[in-house]
């Protein structure tokens, strides 16, 4: 099948940093090395033929026994061209850290806090990387596959 223009452009520009791509039912996916995610996101946002100007979603997946263990998943939407693109960044367990996109999209701030809260993935350059859903005393990251299903958290007292 012929590759979409979006994927071709990304391949031309980023070469070896693109680990793989696939395309199915009009949905393009790019797997990119984590060293290039900010550069790629900036390119997608600014390039006049792509203009992926909306960061629809940012989340993470824990594949547990696979290496690298995590994937950070970004969904972009191009409003001018009505196209969508999924970008995945593999992240290892030993050093779960990716560069933050919060400078490019302010909305990335809370998404990244959620991914940090649930998966323990840190975002380098994030202005305020705290838990967003759980409370500060919470131990562990609940959406990791090795979080014990019957784990009980300590009760917290009233706040001032």
């Amino acid at each position: 099948m012929e590759e979409s223009t979006t994927l071709t452009k990304i391949r031309e520009r980023f070469g070896d940093a693109v680990l793989s791509t696939h395309s199915r039912l009009g949905e393009d996916t790019v797997v990119v090395a984590r060293s290039h995610i900010v550069e790629l996101a900036g390119f997608l946002k600014e390039d006049p033929e792509l203009r992926f100007d909306v960061l629809m979603d940012l989340t993470a997946v824990d594949y547990w026994k696979r290496k690298p263990r995590f994937e950070v998943v970004y969904h972009f939407l191009s409003v001018p061209f009505l196209k969508r693109l999924r970008v995945k960044v593999p992240v290892g367990e030993d050093d779960p850290e990716v560069d933050s996109l919060s400078a490019l999209w302010r909305g990335a701030n809370w998404y990244e806090r959620e991914a940090y809260d649930m998966f323990g993935i840190r975002f380098r350059g994030h202005p305020d990387l705290r838990r967003i859903l759980m409370y500060p005393e919470f131990e562990g990251h609940p959406l990791r596959k090795d979080y014990p299903i019957d784990k009980r958290q300590p009760l917290i007292g009233p706040r001032d």
Binding site: M134, I149, Q153, L155, I156, G157, R159
Partner: protein
């Protein structure tokens, strides 16, 4: 004819009773509920409170939305770890004598929410006088529970 805790006829212009029982009789028909509503059971609580089932028939018709004016804490709906300290604070703000009703299975045991966020029963946070199971409990169940609570109030040693 004995009515409630009172014995003796009114012909002589007096009746005899025990102070504990008289106070219990007064208290059980003058309950001011504090509805601590967090989830779907709230619909069933509203159904009990409104005209169709009419909780006012049992002297509990006026919900107070300040814990300082209430004497029955109705915990209605799932209680999670994050809201637990707030529930405790509200309980502490209520004046004695006070009672706590766990409304619905989530407040009794956590229900099917066996996960990282939910407290497995509000009795981890506050002492509970009455458990009303059900997901959600039918209004009839709630009214039966309320009558059981009234019976309990009638029979208890009254704090003065």
């Amino acid at each position: 004819m004995a009515v409630g805790p009172f014995t003796g006829g009114a012909e002589g212009g007096f009746f005899t009773s025990k102070l504990d029982e008289a106070i219990g009789w007064v208290r059980k028909y003058s309950l001011f509920l504090y509805p601590f509503v967090t989830a779907c059971c709230g619909m069933e609580y509203m159904s009990v409170a409104c005209a169709h089932y009419d909780i006012d028939r049992f002297g509990a018709g006026l919900p107070r939305f300040s814990p300082r004016q209430a004497d029955v804490l109705f915990v209605v709906g799932t209680t999670n770890q994050k809201i637990a300290p707030i529930l405790r604070q509200i309980y502490d703000q209520m004046c004695a004598p006070k009672w706590v009703v766990a409304f619905g299975v989530c407040t009794c045991t956590g229900g099917f929410y066996d996960n990282y966020a939910v407290v497995r029963g509000i009795d981890h946070i506050v002492p509970v006088d009455l458990y009303i199971p059900g997901c959600p409990p039918r209004p009839e169940t709630v009214l039966q529970g309320l009558m059981m609570l009234q019976e309990r109030i009638q029979k208890q040693k009254q704090a003065l």
